[in-house]
Subunit: 160 residues, 2 copies
């Protein structure tokens, strides 16, 4: 059955292209391309292709081709346009908040924050992709988050 090889290529391609989170989903995609197979065969194919399943943010689980993991990230980086889009995440430790951004975004983001001089923030220090925010004593985590949303409303989707 020569089909096997072609089919596995199609599977690989589908995984690289879309965010696929279950074998059933993948099964339908490949079937729609004209291949005949069942979940059992798909499971075997995935083993042969060394496909892995990892958690994708809070969204769920996705299949990945191990070698393609990095490429994926690169592609993501290139479609960044707006400043707030450079935001990655925000975490706290004591009275410090650490905001991580995409590479190169930290200093411009920090400038924006500093310029508005929010009461909640005593100061910031920016590297290339990380901003350290020193919070005023008594300021809560959600106070800080709110003040950041005030500065960059677009953050609300990512922080809310």
């Amino acid at each position: 059955m020569k089909n096997r090889i072609k089919r596995q290529l199609a599977i690989k391609q589908a995984i690289i292209t879309g965010r696929i989170s279950s074998q059933d989903e993948l099964l339908h995609i490949v079937k729609d391309q004209g291949y005949e197979l069942t979940q059992a065969t798909l499971s075997r194919d995935l083993r042969i292709l060394k496909v892995a399943k990892v958690s994708d943010q809070a969204l769920g689980y996705v299949y990945v081709i191990p070698e393609a993991v990095n490429t994926e990230n690169q592609r993501e980086n290139s479609r960044v346009n707006f400043l707030a889009d450079g935001f990655r995440d925000l975490q706290f430790s004591g009275n410090l908040a650490v905001m991580r951004t995409m590479p190169g975004y930290a200093s411009s983001l920090a400038v924006v924050i500093d310029k508005t001089e929010p009461y909640e923030i005593i100061g910031t220090i920016a590297g290339d992709d990380t901003i350290l925010i020193i919070m005023r004593e008594g300021v809560t985590h959600s106070d800080l988050i709110n003040s950041l949303i005030l500065i960059m409303p677009k953050l609300e989707e990512k922080l809310g």
Copy 2:
């Protein structure tokens, strides 16, 4: 529960060390270390740690920490080793760690650390010869040291 942090570290460690092929297996290992948890919690931990399951030769399936899978990263190992030579010392103050390096090394070293996104570290900021590392709450000094060694094995000689 501070346990959660330590437990997840233990899980990560177990995955890196042994070939683990099911959550049940992992569950027993972690339980034997004195942690109390169920498969449900383990499943959640694996999601948080972004652990992936891939096929391992004809043997079966094993859990892996994605960064360790990446072929791309393998090639990078030599570069990382070189960078580790720039390391000078590491000191702690509360939840902050300060790593001093030879002039010019700090930012590239910090990039290496950031890229692996170790659980123990919520962010870094690098100058020219100093890196400020903000540790996750509940992480001990030796936890941090271990995570750094994981990233740059060469550091073991200088930190161990």
